[in-house]
Symmetry: C2
């Protein structure tokens, strides 16, 4: 088993494990440690989660948890993560630091009080690592897409090639063709590069973010590290309340994965929630603010055009995208075309200068089974196809967001149409939810749709938590959402025949058949819960080596009987196979008198 | 909205609700009550769950919870449920009571002590309702299949026709053709008839059963009522420890849904767990014992034939069906063909006399992604096709069990082959699990596969709980498993376009869009959890009428904005549609100078 071709979530224990050397428990070597695969240069080291099995073998899994799970790297949320990519970015010589936009109190939603301390710079927001923002010199496109189209393989591309167990050239080609994106803002050097595209492992995004009603900065940073620990490949900070700017800064400085946002949310805060008061200038300023901080991809609802709004009037659930409803309200209030649509080219120029990736939002996605695949939804999709081609002209990496609520038989049309209309740009879908009737279980209603649409070509899945439609997710909800979506993503990797994906299943199934309980736990997507469930009914240590569990008990364990058969009638698998094949021939030779013909 | 065409689980509250008149809470009429739809005769009353909405409408959902949720029917587990079907069975005049097989201590696994009280009859096991077993006179086939083929529409068929919102003739045709089964042992008159077939709503089975390691009779009876309360359409009692006979009797006398078993498990107990000591006589005696008690369908692993056992030798996880591994062990120990296969015709005669339905077990189903769709699995399936045709000759209703662990891209082949080989007999699948890597979440890994295979034609889904592979499910696990599978089943009903299935989704989505929170909860598959999740962050009573939730807060609630748009720009949906359409025309008439062309 190679150490590149299987993936899993980051950490296996609620309590920080002690990686490095595997620990010894009950006389057995168990656990895992953080390993690295080195690339063509010493500062290019790709993390893997190395699981040590009790049979002496080991399995390497994809690792999204960042330096937090490496005891050799001291992490401190007040200082942020080491700027892994900084030298790569500087070495390219196409960016320059500059003074940057001053940080204003209203960036944090403080406007009705006198500015405390007046204008600040980024250092004041996050004192841990003084820095100035960086952007392309003279507005040059400093994007991975631009490099890929010029034939350059960047260290970032090599990094993801190792992670995905493909050649760097494949990575470059997929990015150059617009079939994959590598979100990596030049102001977010802390990330461990990852790629989103249908030729690669299916990725999972976790949303975090405070709302006006609840939550705090610390909670959001913790949700981010928690989500990546369980396998989130990117995190979207959807904060809408106070302290948006500061929350985002802390999340960015501590995030090993790309961070996405919806700049419209913050822009709306700046006009006190009155959609009609939004302007292109306020929006643009917010995009620059966030780009300077290091946001890697931004959801832009530029496809919600004025003429499409009437198409939603007959819907059961209207417009259910927050960004979509804000833009629709703006368009109607002014009886004007969307300022996002009209200024899209200028927006491209800004994003290209920081390598911010577009996530073209589906503001008119269906919010109920009844509204799936309707005229409004597909009208917007066609516009996203148009915008995708414009973004490409500006060398801006682009992915396309997708629904939503869609019954199973209408899912495939979504991915097929999107791939056709958007020139195979990566599809990034929310679910889809396959029924409306199970609030509190929408991680499951949507996990079903997510697995299917990912199998058919969706590149990244936006998770849905059990709290969807009901409230703000807490820590447990985040974990449940991530695990559910890692299942959907991995099921899709298997169905797509992604190289090496099945080795993980095979390793776990081998452990299961051989009653290596500790190995089953350590290989599980969620080792803690698997172990806890087993211990609930058979807690004693000897049960960890028992050849059965409480589900069936010793007499009825089929795997035990299966093993007994092999032991009694052969010994090794090879022997039993030979012995049994021999028996089979004897039966046939005897004219099948005793035995009825095989099948018919 | 009619009251026949939507379905849901039984009860909405942890605490027994007070049905009948809807209760009044915070000034609003909320909740639901148990209703009945009367058929062509007064003793044919089909239960429905009538949900009362705050807008004055009501929605009727399929109800599996039995008389427990009807306050007008006094239930007492010590007395059992009223024998609803007794008069129908007697009126047919083709069955007769008889003394029945004496109940022996070893039926309950008591064999190493002196029999306490010697032989008993059924009354001693369950004193609540004295009775004698019943069977077809002179071995006559008294099955719904026999009646259907003769053109008779039984009260049971009319009952399910009302439940499914189809004509009784459709029910009769589907049963006659062998495409559907109506499991209804003449000794289980307590059941509320239900049907399993691809033309009908997808059904869900929940497994209960003690094992040698844990659990008690009371727990199993409670698990059964609990599972049916959340929507289980049938329950399999897979007990393997002590008190099998008595547990089953109590479960049967109190169950409103068909009960399935695997007689092989009890037969093995009778030979102390030594597979090689099993005999046809012991097995047959066990089948009669269970048929007299009223078991409605039995899993019979008659497709595990001697020549197929070697086909499993190279598998990653061997034989993972308990029944399959027992029969394989027996075949190898004796070097003989399976006694189930060889005596299948005699078994048909027995089952026909009680109307026990076959569930032909897939003893060689794959237990890992690596083993999916292999030679062993499909060899057995071909034999199941052969056995299905034999069963049909004897007028025994038959369904076919299916896998197991199957990656998504190999699922469709399973249902397509099964339908072809088994003449469209109902497929009854366990999951399938779409990946092996998530122990503790196998309700989800399998819920994905279950939804897909049900969409493609599987008639009943056997649930998988979070404890799968790890231990015996408890009450919470049973609920989680049932809810997950109700989601899969309903998602499939939607995708199949089952008449009326979407009305449930539409009712909930309407409630969602109109911020009728109480209606959302009451219409939810699990009202308790939906309500609890909402209250976690916004517990105050006014929040139940608020036009937002804690997820996005008031400013960012897209549905609120969507509603505001409709209010400001129209009022009613009709008005806004007209108004907006008018605007749209104006834009077009103005030559689209302000607005770019729609799409392109």
């Amino acid at each position: 088993m190679t150490n590149k071709d299987v993936r899993t979530p980051a950490s296996s224990q609620d309590e920080s494990p002690v990686p490095g050397e595997p620990s010894t428990e009950a006389g057995k070597s168990v656990g895992w440690h953080k390993g690295y695969v080195e690339g063509s240069r010493p500062d290019l080291r790709v993390p893997v989660r190395q699981v040590h099995l009790t049979n002496g073998q080991s399995v390497s899994l994809y690792d999204t948890s960042g330096p937090y799970t490496d005891p050799l790297v001291g992490t401190d949320v007040r200082r942020g993560l080491p700027p892994l990519r900084e030298n790569w970015i500087i070495a390219r010589g196409d960016t320059a630091e500059y003074a940057g936009r001053p940080v204003r109190p209203e960036d944090d939603g403080i406007k009705h009080t006198a500015p405390r301390g007046g204008l600040r710079n980024l250092d004041a927001v996050f004192p841990g690592r003084p820095r100035q923002p960086r952007r392309g010199r003279d507005g040059e496109a400093v994007t991975q897409l631009a490099y890929a189209r010029r034939g350059e393989v960047t260290p970032e591309m090599e990094y993801v090639a190792i992670r995905e167990n493909v050649s760097p050239e494949v990575v470059r080609e997929e990015i150059a063709a617009g079939r994959a994106v590598l979100p990596a803002n030049v102001n977010h050097p802390e990330i461990e590069p990852m790629i989103i595209g249908k030729r690669f492992l299916v990725k999972v995004n976790a949303n975090i973010g405070n709302s006006a009603v609840t939550s705090s900065i610390e909670e959001e940073v913790e949700k981010m590290t928690w989500a990546t620990r369980w396998g989130a490949d990117t995190v979207m900070d959807l904060s809408t309340g106070r302290n948006i700017h500061t929350t985002r800064e802390w999340v960015l400085r501590n995030s090993p994965v790309p961070i996405g946002t919806v700049p419209l949310y913050q822009a709306l805060e700046k006009v006190d929630g009155r959609a009609e008061e939004l302007t292109w200038e306020i929006y643009k300023d917010t995009v620059i603010e966030q780009a300077e901080q290091g946001v890697d991809y931004m959801t832009v609802h530029a496809g919600v055009r004025l003429p499409y709004v009437p198409l939603t009037a007959n819907r059961k659930t209207g417009i259910v995208s927050r960004g979509g409803s804000i833009m629709a309200a703006w368009c109607l209030a002014h009886h004007k075309e969307s300022f996002l649509y009209e200024n899209f080219e200028e927006l491209c120029e800004i994003l290209a200068a920081y390598d911010v990736t577009y996530s073209l939002g589906d503001g008119l996605r269906p919010g109920s089974i009844a509204d799936a695949n309707d005229e409004a939804q597909f009208a917007e999709l066609r516009t996203l196809g148009e915008l995708n081609r414009i973004a490409r002209r500006f060398d801006v990496q682009t992915m396309i967001e997708g629904p939503g609520h869609v019954p199973m038989h209408k899912i495939k049309e979504n991915i097929d149409l999107q791939q056709e209309i958007c020139d195979e740009a990566p599809f990034y879908t929310l679910g889809p939810l396959t029924t409306d009737v199970a609030p509190a279980y929408d991680h499951i209603t949507s996990g079903i749709g997510a697995a299917m649409i990912a199998w058919w070509g969706t590149a990244m899945l936006c998770y849905v938590t059990p709290k969807e439609h009901l409230g703000l997710p807490n820590r447990d909800d985040v974990k449940t959402g991530v695990i559910t979506y890692k299942i959907a993503a991995h099921a899709a990797d298997l169905a797509k025949g992604h190289p090496g994906a099945q080795e993980w299943d095979d390793a776990l199934s081998d452990a299961r058949f051989e009653f290596r309980w500790e190995d089953q736990f350590n290989l599980a997507l969620d080792p803690d819960t698997a172990r806890a469930f087993h211990d609930e009914t058979l807690p004693a240590e000897p049960a960890k080596t028992a050849h059965f569990c409480s589900m069936c008990g010793p007499k009825f364990c089929s795997m035990k009987i299966s093993q007994d058969i092999r032991r009694e009638h052969g010994g090794s698998r090879g022997e039993i196979e030979e012995g049994m094949a021999q028996k089979s021939k004897e039966f046939a030779a005897s004219g099948n008198r005793v035995y009825l013909p095989i099948a018919d």
